[in-house]
């Protein structure tokens, strides 16, 4: 067993894994109506390709990737598009976003699927294929994978490729079940990633509370040279920068990415979708979701994207009494939902129906006593209480001096805070304010430039008008140069009445 390089801080949390990881992944039935958001990834929203009334086939592209950081969106089943409008999506704001609604015809007719031999494709063609298949990171961040599969500009040669199967959040078990049941598919996807990135070594990081998954992945990796590394159960070992540190000992720079130190990291479920996209020609239209907490039969379901949360909860036996809040993601990094009608997206790894006891008790927030417990657990080596003071005081530039943007919002500091201060909320607030100020600044700069350009244009037009005026007035000056007599002046006045008036009228017309 190779050496591990423990990261600073972190927590031992109550795991709550066995509630949902005992049964196999259940396929969820196709719902009658699917609401597919066009923005299921980080980056630009996909451009809709369908209109209400269109018939679509299962796997047909309904939203095209726009811009470099973006991913395509596909019809999860065959049917008719009934709406293209804004609907509530799983987001902490509870706001609506653009969605395509597909009424299922129950036939599940696939679009033509074209498996490809990836050895024959140029890397850029392969990346384009994945982008058009809608492949994004399924660990929860939903970052377009095609972007991460392009090393140019970051490093010449990738040292280490890491497959992230740590799944450190309490309650969530979708990656655990996926590794147990579909290890071969994951490794097939890993082959494709390794083919593109050509790393020196491939490591698979799995926390030691998943012995079955470790066994399955070890067996699937036999003879491939990929190494399964068992890491201790310590939250947040599944966070990218922490896992990179843990497995390779390399620290990701403050303003950089793991790829800047020669490491790239993918989630196990992402590897599986890459395998399906390349070897079967199937785009990302479903994912495994853990439905757990206060539901009668917690477990993992494979749901089509766009399935309403409430249908998955019903499939898992419905709510138990005492559900206080519905959370998407884990209890540490997830967010509370405003309703259970929102659709499953590529980022939906877990639906957690939490009871009051499972949530942080609503004790009153007390003043910070500067105990430093948050500093001890911060896995990003930050000073959370300094960040807290500055965020609270709206001194955002000082918060940035303390590396606010290195915060991964893991929630360890809030978890241990004896005063129950919602620290992470302060950091999110400060980050959002800084981004908003940045946007305002850009907008102001644009307005300044446009105003300047307008003033210059007006000045130029004025000068052009004056120049024209001077050109049109030569009769006044030329004869004067020639030989000014009373007769010529009278004659001129008779033949051309008031040339200046004419030009003035013209200018007025143009202005009007």
């Amino acid at each position: 067993m190779s050496r591990l390089f423990p990261f600073h801080g972190g927590l031992k949390t109550v795991r709550h894994k066995t509630e949902s990881n005992q049964q196999a992944i259940r396929p969820a039935p196709v719902p009658r109506r699917l609401v597919v958001p066009l923005r299921q990834h980080i980056g630009a929203i996909a451009k809709p390709l369908v209109q209400p009334g269109d018939r679509v086939l299962k796997g047909q592209m309904i939203g095209q990737a726009e811009g470099y950081i973006s991913a395509a969106v596909h019809a999860p089943t065959s049917g008719v598009v009934t709406a293209l409008d804004q609907r509530p999506v799983p987001h902490p704001s509870g706001l609506a976003d653009w969605c395509v609604t597909v009424e299922s015809d129950g036939e599940e007719r696939w679009v033509e699927r074209k498996p490809v031999d990836y050895h024959r494709l140029h890397p850029s063609e392969l990346r384009n294929l994945l982008r058009n298949a809608g492949v994004v990171g399924l660990g929860g961040a939903a970052f377009p994978s095609a972007v991460k599969l392009n090393l140019s500009g970051h490093c010449d040669r990738l040292e280490t490729l890491i497959l992230n199967g740590a799944e450190c959040e309490p309650w969530i078990t979708c990656d655990d079940r996926l590794m147990r049941e579909r290890a071969a598919g994951i490794v097939a996807g890993l082959h494709i990633i390794a083919h593109l990135l050509e790393p020196r070594e491939v490591l698979i990081g799995i926390e030691d509370d998943k012995p079955e998954a470790i066994a399955a992945m070890t067996a699937a990796c036999a003879g491939t040279g990929y190494q399964v590394r068992v890491v201790p159960t310590r939250y947040p070992s599944g966070s990218v920068k922490q896992l990179v540190k843990l497995l390779t000992g390399r620290e990701t720079p403050v303003d950089g990415l793991p790829v800047d130190v020669g490491v790239q990291c993918f989630n196990v479920a992402t590897a599986h979708t890459i395998h399906r996209a390349v070897d079967y020609g199937e785009p990302v239209i479903s994912r495994v979701v853990t439905v757990t907490g206060q539901v009668r039969q917690p477990g993992n379901v494979e749901a089509l994207l766009g399935t309403p949360f409430v249908e998955l909860v019903e499939l898992c036996g419905g709510y138990q009494d005492g559900v206080e809040r519905l959370i998407m993601g884990g209890p540490m990094m997830g967010f509370a939902l405003h309703g259970d009608e929102v659709p499953v997206t590529k980022a939906t790894n877990c639906i957690l129906a939490a009871s009051a006891e499972q949530l942080t008790p609503d004790r009153p927030v007390m003043p910070c006593i500067r105990c430093g417990a948050c500093v001890d657990v911060c896995p990003a080596n930050l000073l959370p209480q300094q960040l807290y003071w500055h965020a609270r005081a709206k001194e955002f530039d000082k918060a940035q001096d303390y590396h606010l943007f290195s915060c991964i919002e893991c929630g360890c500091c809030s978890y241990v805070c004896p005063s129950r201060i919602p620290l992470v909320q302060y950091y999110r607030y400060a980050k959002n304010e800084i981004w908003a100020q940045e946007k305002e600044k850009q907008k102001a700069e644009l307005a300044r430039q446009r105003h300047q350009a307008r003033l210059e244009r007006l000045e130029r037009e004025k000068q052009e008008r004056e120049a024209k005026l001077r050109q049109k007035a030569p009769p006044r000056s030329e004869p004067a140069v020639a030989k000014p007599t009373l007769e010529t002046a009278v004659a001129r006045a008779k033949t051309s009445p008031a040339p200046t008036l004419e030009t003035t009228a013209e200018t007025v017309n143009r202005d009007g």
């Binding site: 704001s93 965020a391 999110r428 980050k431 700069e445 307005a447 300044r448 105003h451 009007g512």
Partner: protein, 190 residues
């Protein structure tokens, strides 16, 4: 005695030459403080401050002719930033110049527009598109919400609409009430 006079005169001459050279070589074009003030102002070019635009207002502040609390779009945050830059006490917005409002964008009711071009001439950032006797429209992305186009419209077809919150513009709120702490103002006032 004479040696001292000569030596001091020589020193004065050399220093004078050096200073003269520096004055030419390191001459600062324009007034840098105006640029700094202008960078803080919101660039709406709305004229609510009583000046013809953000730049003239910045020049007036630098010259000591205008106060720092005359810019409603900049709001309290703008006043605090100006106070910090100029080493003055922040003060509340002067209500004579208007109130702080949510961000707005101008919208032309295209059914009623008669194509008179008056709003195009009023727009300080050329954010209105159209031609004489043709329908006009506002380029929402460029509109600063200055409201200068509203008054000239002879058929009252321009309305200011608050910018709706979307998923991308939504922000996490501060966990404590907004009024609880105002350290930058408090400390500066103390």
């Amino acid at each position: 005695m004479i040696a001292a006079i000569v030596a001091l005169s020589a020193l004065a001459g050399v220093a004078g030459l050096l200073l003269g050279f520096a004055a030419v070589r390191f001459k600062v074009e324009g007034d840098p403080i105006v640029d700094k003030i202008d960078a803080i102002l919101p660039q709406t070019q709305c004229g609510q401050c009583g000046y013809a635009g953000c730049r003239p207002y910045a020049e007036a502040i630098a010259a000591g002719e205008a106060d720092i609390n005359q810019c409603p779009p900049g709001g309290e945050a703008g006043i605090v930033a100006l106070a910090e830059l100029l080493g003055r006490d922040p003060k509340p917005l002067n209500p004579e110049h208007g109130r702080e409002k949510p961000k707005m964008v101008a919208v032309i009711d295209e059914q009623s527009c008669i194509g008179c071009t008056l709003c195009i001439q009023a727009c300080p950032v050329d954010a209105i598109l159209g031609a004489a006797k043709h329908m006009h429209t506002v380029i929402a992305r460029e509109c600063t919400g200055c409201e200068l186009c509203v008054a000239p419209c002879p058929v009252d077809c321009i309305h200011m609409v608050p910018i709706a919150e979307t998923i991308t513009s939504w922000k996490w709120t501060c966990p404590i009430a907004d009024t609880e702490v105002r350290p930058s103002v408090d400390r500066a006032a103390a």
